[in-house]
Symmetry: C2
Subunit: 282 residues, 2 copies
Amino acid sequence: MRDPASSSLPAAERTVFFVSDGTGITAETFGHSVLTQFELRFKQIRLPFIDTLEKAYDAVRRINESCVQDGKRPIVFSTLVKADLSAVVRRSSGMHMDLIHTFVEPLEQELGIKSSHTIGRSHNIADSDEYKNRIEAINFSLAHDDGQSDKNLALADVILVGVSRSGKTPTSLYLAMQYGIKAANYPLIPEDFQRGKLPGTLAQYKNKIFGLSIAPERLAEVRNERRPGSKYAALENCRYEINEAETMMRREGIRWMSSTTKSIEEIAATILQEIRLERHSY
Amino acid sequence: MRDPASSSLPAAERTVFFVSDGTGITAETFGHSVLTQFELRFKQIRLPFIDTLEKAYDAVRRINESCVQDGKRPIVFSTLVKADLSAVVRRSSGMHMDLIHTFVEPLEQELGIKSSHTIGRSHNIADSDEYKNRIEAINFSLAHDDGQSDKNLALADVILVGVSRSGKTPTSLYLAMQYGIKAANYPLIPEDFQRGKLPGTLAQYKNKIFGLSIAPERLAEVRNERRPGSKYAALENCRYEINEAETMMRREGIRWMSSTTKSIEEIAATILQEIRLERHSY
């Protein structure tokens, strides 16, 4: 959806504007979560930093032009806080989806406080402890990618295991970046299968190990992109490794899931659910 | 907000539920974008896979319990599609924020198609071209982290440069993961300053180079966490490197920004804006 390149979809059906007095990230994140519900291509245009009347009129002009060009009214996700700017943009020919007025205002009433948007303060994410946790988690996950380091494994929130190309690296980075979770990952390799044991350093951390498996056919496909025609990528070898890995995980009592048809987001959601990282409020 | 650990905030003020018939990712992403507007701690509980009446009643029970415990009604972000399930959960004592009915239904009318949520199909992200792009971009960015490889730099969408610890790595990974952008990054090191030139391989890609700088004081702080008391971390050295790096970027006509008080999200938004990666629809 963000990159509407999927070949099965028709040409861009509709133009979407994200209008904001700040970076536009809120309008965009929010808009994306709604638009992903539709199997359509959207041409997406961000109009950040709309913080003067002049810029607001300029935004309206762009929205109206696109309406004429497309022959269809654009969809406008807006997080404009100031009433005068919002009133200007609302008069465009777009379909106006107003995050602030629809959800933030009722919540302000409910919570009895003003939102940072309303009081015009950019919530300084970069200074928060949460943000520092995330950066720390990213560094941790990078340093502990692919079994690179046994150091500080005790600090890991989760240790992902699985055969090469089962999805461990992107999942670890996503967990770190999105949730501030220190996610190490460790490959299961043929030597482990021959010894019939988990890599030695992992045994003591069994309660935070989570396994990823994948259909051998899909694994062969992914590995062939990387090393075409190799033994590593051969279907028979993939079948062997997956079978051994799943047998080992069952024997060791390790929770695991298949990543075959799952996105990183879905894998991460399941891991959070399974591992129950309470201190991260999940 | 996701990890409500910021020491300046009071204890969890309100419980928030994310109720979904799927993974809950949409409800959660959406809810987060709204809740980040409030400087409050929220206790967050995900209730995914609520796809039967029994589970819906169970969700209501949990919401009501939390209401009694907190003495305040919880906030419920819901993406339940089926009318019968939605009707059950709506009767809880929580404050109901319904993504589907509020935005998706009007959009269905506007676009003249049903949403994937409504037709009960889990949009199989993992199979889309967009998703494959993202995974490819993550692999690319990892392989091109910290000047590790000059190979295929021609394929990079953007090449970040800056002194060590100026924020290049997390920004590159965020651009890849969130937007499917192939982001390489290259450190500017004292040898480059002595030669008074950009690293040789980069000269031909100047149009896609973007620089990150950072306040010397902040840099010294970050570096001291990593190598306490080193020359590398000394404020004087940080001042020297930053001054040289900024002089070089100005001389070479490279666009750059300071990452000092910016979050990864804000840095990425600015880079997208500056580089105008049209083929990614930004």
